[in-house]
């Protein structure tokens, strides 16, 4: 099955799931759970938390898969972003409840290149993000990655770096402007 076909099938299963077809869950689950569990586990650093988040994600898909628009988004991108957002949400809640921030959750994601079978999301052009991040200053790059993977806000980043909030904001914002220019140049 080509990547194109896999995508079309997943999109169709998502639409069925949103229409209330419970049988579509298994198909969506089989196609995406390893990918999503990996994401949740990396962000939360805890299997139990990752399992709970994954369950929440699939129940959300079932309740609102109707908001998925095949014309607008690739299904796996849509689901992966949803899983990431839920995991970050949970991580932040956890962080405010207890002092124990899992260090793993905060670790920098090194320059890993995705393996072929993990590359569900990548489309030509979209993968420019890897290249474009490399064009930033290292402090900008690590700030953006720590926010994206570790749920750290501007205030968190400033505190961690021991610099004023305003300094951190302008640093990251310069990076965002550059990132935007670079991403657009590839389209």
């Amino acid at each position: 099955m080509s990547a194109e076909q896999a995508r079309a099938r997943l999109a169709a299963a998502l639409v069925r799931l949103g229409a209330g077809d419970k049988a579509a869950l298994e198909q969506v689950y089989r196609a995406t759970s390893a990918k999503l569990f990996g994401i949740c586990l990396r962000i939360l650093g805890d299997r139990k938390e990752a399992e709970d988040t994954l369950q929440e994600v699939y129940l959300t898909l079932w309740r609102r898969a109707d908001r998925f628009d095949p014309a607008r988004a690739s299904p796996i991108t849509w689901i992966a972003v949803l899983a990431r957002n839920r995991a970050i949400d949970r991580l932040r809640r956890k962080r405010t409840l207890g002092p124990a921030v899992p260090v793993e959750a905060a670790r920098e994601v090194a320059d890993e290149t995705p393996s072929a079978e993990d590359s569900l999301i990548e489309d030509e052009g979209q993968a420019r993000i890897h290249h474009c991040l490399e064009t930033l200053e290292s402090a900008q790059r690590s700030g953006i990655k720590e926010a994206f993977f570790g749920g750290f806000t501007y205030a968190d980043l400033a505190q961690r770096a021991g610099i004023p909030l305003g300094t951190m904001k302008s640093r990251i914002r310069r990076g965002l402007a550059r990132l935007k220019t670079c991403l657009e140049a590839g389209e």
Partner: protein, 237 residues
């Protein structure tokens, strides 16, 4: 880079918190151009998630999820029904009706199997509480309802004002009538609100609330309510 585009990037990456996050979340729900900008960033950032290796979840998880779905009989179909209800509600509602998507989001939280007969009369004097998460932030709006005094305590201790907006809390009546205002939230403060008996009578375990963003002072009488930025429901203590 326009300020909106920058905000979209900050929102998609997760850099915002507090009032900024609230505003961005509200904008995404109410402003299609901004929503599109957020989608653009999410799609461009998503390949970063490909750097994470896949991990097969434990066997039992699929069964657990199916069981959780079975506990909620209708799922997707329920959303369709709710949408019809919202349309009906919109047709009937005069000034003060809020946008369909926002109303739908709020109504989805309302347990559908709850009929007025299920409402626990016995526990009428026990306080009800709600902890309403605000956006993706760690902030929560704490709401406690004291039935015997018909009083509401609204605690917004973590919130800061942006000086331009206020947030107003609303009760979503079960039958889908017009939203009932529970007052304007005061950032950084705990506020005590006395409810009129008609509004108080509508509150029970499971009642849904939404928080909307409004001009300073709350929703102007002639205007529609602003975008829904958070939602939650009452629970027994």
């Amino acid at each position: 880079m326009t300020p909106d585009d920058r905000l979209a990037a900050e929102f998609a990456i997760g850099l915002l918190e507090g009032q900024d996050l609230l505003d961005a979340r509200g904008r995404r729900a109410s402003d299609p151009a901004f929503a599109k900008a957020v989608d653009w960033w999410e799609a461009r950032l998503a390949p970063l998630l490909d750097t994470i290796p896949a991990v097969v979840p434990p066997e039992y998880l699929l069964a657990r999820i199916s069981a959780a779905m079975a506990d909620t009989p209708d799922g997707g179909a329920e959303v369709v029904r709710l949408r019809q209800r919202v349309r009906f509600w919109q047709r009937g509602a005069a000034a003060g009706a809020i946008a369909a998507s926002a109303a739908l989001a709020a109504l989805v939280l309302t347990p559908q199997n709850r009929t007025p007969a299920d409402v626990p009369v016995r526990a009428a004097s026990a306080p009800l509480v709600a902890s309403i998460p605000i956006g993706d932030s760690a902030l929560r709006l704490g709401v406690t309802y004291l039935p015997d005094r018909k009083e509401l305590l609204v605690s917004a201790s973590g919130l800061a004002s942006d000086g331009v907006h206020d947030h107003e809390l609303w009760l979503v009546p079960d039958g889908g009538g017009a939203l009932r205002s529970l007052g304007v939230v005061q950032p950084g403060r705990e506020r005590r609100v006395s409810l009129d008996p008609a509004t108080a009578a509508l509150i029970h375990d499971g009642s849904a609330m939404v928080l909307t963003r409004e001009p300073l002072g709350g929703k102007p009488p002639a205007a529609d309510a602003g975008p829904v930025v958070a939602e939650g429901s009452f629970d027994r203590v």
